[in-house]
């Protein structure tokens, strides 16, 4: 009987392969998390004693400790660090790992806050915009189409400058973070609307006819029949938009939002360790984006296999 066949489908090889992928995904995430923690923790020695910095101008930091540090500091850090911590201690103006963790953590919290706000606003705007894009005719369509194309066809960096420096011209004095959220929301909206449109397009028009034939209102047909199907199809590409936008958030440091890149920049200007700090920042982003990418891939696979994702 059909139901049994269906449950067999669920349990066969694809499922065990899926489990393998899931395990790999989690392992990689955990590994990235551990690496991040380790990177933050090993920060102290370098910071505390003013470090070895490759790029540091001579005499820029405490000369006394410079002698004890290897030129290729980062690799030999732990051992060095232990020594340094004992011999130098803190209190000479160095940056302790706790401080680094707090600063970067705070910066990243801002990053995530901006990303989350922009994604939420952008997503809710993208649904009606996607609906209009899917109509393919009419004045509302052409206006929306042009706007979305313009946003997608211009650099986010330029848009950020435009909003931040342009808003006062029309009497709006937007704070950097407000400008950032506004710009990124519009961006998320544009990309997600495109995804929503293609999701809607993939739903057979007959689904709408059938719903209407059953006497359902246009709204109920959209809400109960068309949207759930379009959304399931759109989930993987939407996740990719989420990942892209989270990465774009790094750009907002240029309009002086004190997020994680900005924080890292100031840490680097004290410690002269760009590799270390930017690597830590990269890992922080990766820890967030990696599970999303994996999840997107898995859902995509699942939709392809089943033709439809039931659970």
């Amino acid at each position: 009987m059909p139901p049994e066949m269906a449950s067999e489908n669920h349990a066969s090889p694809p499922s065990s392969r899926r489990r393998l992928w899931r395990t790999c995904g989690w392992l990689a995430t955990v590994a990235a998390g551990v690496a991040l923690a380790a990177a933050v923790l090993t920060t102290q020695p370098v910071g505390a004693d003013g470090g070895p910095p490759q790029g540091a101008p001579p005499g820029a930091t405490r000369p006394a400790t410079r002698a004890t540090t290897q030129p290729n500091g980062a690799a030999t850090q732990p051992a060095d660090g232990a020594v340094a911590r004992e011999s130098v201690g803190n209190g000479d103006g160095g940056i302790s790992p706790a401080v680094v963790a707090r600063k970067l953590g705070k910066g990243f919290a801002i990053t995530l806050l901006v990303a989350a706000a922009s994604l939420t606003i952008g997503f809710f705007l993208s649904v009606p915009v996607g609906v209009v894009l899917n109509r393919n005719r009419g004045i509302a369509y052409y206006i929306t189409r042009s706007f979305v194309d313009f946003i997608r066809g211009t650099p986010v960096l330029v848009q950020l400058y435009f909003v931040y420096f342009g808003s006062p011209v029309i009497g709006l004095h937007l704070a950097p973070i407000t400008s950032a959220i506004a710009t990124l929301s519009i961006n998320a909206m544009a990309y997600m609307a495109e995804v929503v449109r293609s999701g809607l397009m993939s739903v057979d028009r007959g689904q709408m006819l059938a719903g209407r034939a059953l006497g359902l209102s246009r709204w109920d047909v959209f809400r109960r029949i068309v949207w759930p199907q379009a959304f399931r199809i759109a989930i993987p590409p939407l996740m990719n938009s989420v990942v892209a936008l989270i990465k774009d958030t790094a750009l907002i440091s240029i309009i002086s939002v004190v997020e994680v890149v900005h924080t890292a920049k100031s840490l680097v200007s004290i410690t002269y360790e760009p590799m270390k700090y930017y690597f830590i920042v990269a890992l922080m982003f990766f820890v967030v984006t990696f599970p999303l990418m994996k999840l997107a891939g898995r859902l995509e696979e699942r939709i392809r296999q089943k033709g439809y994702a039931h659970d």
Binding site: P2, D204, Q207, R212, A213, R224, Q229, H310
Partner: protein, 235 residues
Amino acid sequence: MIKVENVQYAYHTGTEALRDVSVAFPRGTISAVLGESGSGKTTLLMLLGQFLRPDAGRITLDNRDIYEIPEPEYRRALGIVFQNLYLFPHMTVLENMTLAPVKVLGADKVGTEDDARAMLDRLGIGEIADSYPSQISGGQGQRAAIARGLMLQPEYMLLDEPTSALDANTTDEFAAWLRELSDQTNFIIVTHDVLFADKAAHQGVYLSDGQVLDTGTIDTIIQHVRSGRLVEVDG
């Protein structure tokens, strides 16, 4: 009674799909709309379902122009099962059936679910209630789609090519099944399958190239087809 009077319809491409079509679908009968491929059968169904509007002529339900009947009322009077069924793939068969009664009629959800299960049992497909459309056979899907339409208890029900997913044996069974249901619902069956029409319907209309070639009892139409007066369709 549904009456189609002198209806014209041309698609924007210029195809004159229906030319001066007049036909009546009285209560208490199963009607067949016959005709070869491209003769305008589906177009007629789309007009009856208010998805297309006639360029000329009119369609009435009990002498009222269907465009003067409030849409909710008309939708409840006439159900449609499309050729491709269009079961909602993200819902179980049961959910497919309860959506409209709950949303449109404001029926109580639990009571409607009981009704739906009873309906499926009566139609002999009780076991698929909790399956998704992708998990059932073509014939089961056909019945499920009809069951979904019957939940609103329409007086008329249009079926477009209902036998396309069925083999010969199942088609006979299906015809008998429709006959059984026909005491409560007036079926209008769009089909190019003359044998099926013979088994299921009482009366019919034969379309060719957008025009009515023949109307009357199904027996006379089939006689005309057999005698070569109407083009026999391969099916």
